[in-house]
Symmetry: C2
Subunit: 460 residues, 2 copies
Amino acid sequence: MSSVREVKVATEVPGPLSKAEAEKLGSFFDNRAFYFVADYDKSSGNYIVDVDGNQYLDVYSQIASIPVGYNNPTLTKAAQSREMISALVNRPALGNFPSSHWHDSLKNGLLKVAPDGCDKIFTAQSGSEANELAFKAAFMLYRRKQRGEGVEWSDNEISSCLNNAKPGSPELAILSFANSFHGRGFGSLSATRSKAVHKLDIPSFNWPQAPFPALKYPLDKFAAENAAEEKRCLDKVEELITTWQFPVAGLIVEPIQSEGGDNHASPAFFQGLRDITQKHNVTMIVDEVQTGFGATGKFWGHQHWNLTSPPDIVTFSKKAQTAGYYFGNPRLVPDKAYRQFNTWIGDPARVLMSKAVVEEILARDLVSQTARVGVALYSELERLATKYPQLVRNLRGKGQGTYIAFDTTDPASLVKKMKSLGVNIGTCGTQTVRLRPMLIFEEAHIPFLISALDKALGPA
Amino acid sequence: MSSVREVKVATEVPGPLSKAEAEKLGSFFDNRAFYFVADYDKSSGNYIVDVDGNQYLDVYSQIASIPVGYNNPTLTKAAQSREMISALVNRPALGNFPSSHWHDSLKNGLLKVAPDGCDKIFTAQSGSEANELAFKAAFMLYRRKQRGEGVEWSDNEISSCLNNAKPGSPELAILSFANSFHGRGFGSLSATRSKAVHKLDIPSFNWPQAPFPALKYPLDKFAAENAAEEKRCLDKVEELITTWQFPVAGLIVEPIQSEGGDNHASPAFFQGLRDITQKHNVTMIVDEVQTGFGATGKFWGHQHWNLTSPPDIVTFSKKAQTAGYYFGNPRLVPDKAYRQFNTWIGDPARVLMSKAVVEEILARDLVSQTARVGVALYSELERLATKYPQLVRNLRGKGQGTYIAFDTTDPASLVKKMKSLGVNIGTCGTQTVRLRPMLIFEEAHIPFLISALDKALGPA
């Protein structure tokens, strides 16, 4: 059976039924960010259907988080399993009373795709939480090294931390990059530097921000300039680590800055970060919340770098359908129980879904497919970039699967127009349209997407 | 059919199979806080079964989070519903593309039990997240009032917030109480003051901490002293709000300090907090993560206070099986979309479970039952307190449903002994045993619990 479905948009978007439903919802739930109200029962594969009956090819995928298609049969089977019903009904405090199924859920799911060098896991419920747990692990490791292995906490540390005072609550920093997005909690938001709408009015920690390379496209034309730009940023990273008012315990970086505008850097840049973090004993956290789980044509975005040694921590969420972090160093497990702990420690129901996602990705070899389809998609977009040089600029993501983006003059209008043409697509940064198809996006879906883009970009 | 099941413990706790399973798990998951590995398929109602076949009466309930019993049929039905399968398989970005079921899930679930004066909701995934979202709402409201209604953000605010600097990232505080627990994120942990193991080595905000009343028991004997103690704490709250180095935008308080040792205060104390917060324009956040959903014999713990005006924000999690916060003031909705936002905004699968929990609680009138059973349970514990005056001290929670606790000399040994006698029970604070039965705990379960306590407290 073909995976290509009919696309039709018979109303304005959002349509009258979407609007009516959103208005009802608005009486008790903030509805101002809604695009349309979806009918997930009628959605399938790469296609999302709204309550007005409009059908769209979806290359936004719930902000890059649907991995293997709406109503995927493998996921549906997992959702109906006996283990799932128990995980939903008997939600455990996983640290105290794990289920007899918990070992298998992880071992044959998330652990199967653990990045090289990261053979341990801590489960969580969102990318924000995963990053904050990673920060906490980095801070505890830093102080453990400082305190000395096996040295007991002092009375002064114990009492001062309850007052949010030094030395128990130390001044320690996480370094992040300009335009990064790492989440919305008070720690993860302190590392986020993307948009004022995320940060304004919220108190934050005094943590350093390094510039992220601003590469020029096409890359081959600007090779020397881009290398110099990356060196400038690496130098600044090292300078910040060595001169900040207080110690930098961790560094967090996205393989591709996603919310911040799909900004890329070279493997050499990331190797540079690995070298600097190792030199200065800084925990290197790779935030794969958006890049993880195959969209770049490798399972993990950082696998494109061939680092000389693996990152210390890799965080995940979105397409994983749950969240958490991987790590390798056993000293990232705190010196005592209950330090890295909470009531639920993730959600076993969502971890079962992630197991089904992993099964589906591996069984259908969807990462290879995404790499292959990405090549074809990129080349079609290159054609459009040539045809509309003012409207499709800085095309990027070559060799990065379907993780492709370009700059344009009015991204909001373009994606609005695309919806009316039957394509659900998203923006990022201030001038960028990003493609985030699912891993089941095929060559067969390219012509419709490209033809819609061609129409939307062409003269009105 | 009787809800009383046989209790049997045939091995040491944890038993050999639990230990073997936990050891396997330990190769990739921190297992140091585990008590035993549970067989949830064999657990039911108030009884939890472990992989060694031991069966316990469970009055700890997954750290106070199982609401209506293991394998509850109403919840099982919800877990098997078509809406649930869709919510699991097609996880939406609820702010952008809510499902056509989303309105009903909330309206006929969590909204049905919304506290008076709190008719709006923001959904989340954990108590920590719920509290941090509440803090953000308080901060945004504070700055909105300061900026003036309708006044646009300045360029300086917009650029400074991206640098984590004033005025965009303002210095604003949340006041909390000594011994409080509000979560593990960097914001919620800054408000948490319970134990060093939660806080040590983690950077925190410079936020004020007020004393929480240390009441003496029995309450009637120390009425005057306790009233003076509450006044002392209220005075200190007002002093901190008016003299802190920077503005206090919000105050967060638990109706009963739970992790911190089951510390109670009188309705007059909480009315005092409401008066002070209103006088000084401080958002009053009531953290009902542990007290909410019926365990105190009212649906919400703060309903015991009969406040002259409702709290500004009420947070929930645990027994709700999902998380989030309620609020009434529409100005707690930020001035622009996407300020209070994240990819998932909670989990519709867990919100469907909460709907089933609400149905079950209301249909079986379980809050009234808990109030009634609590009276009987308290009076049995009074008997034990008389019998063992050194080992059962400061019995508290009278008139608070089954939310009952007492101090003892060695709580860790007592709960260990109780496990060997077939009762799963927990501690809190440094010297306290807390009861956290489910809402389906009945008079019929009291004799076994009391008899086990009697044995555990009695001479070896």
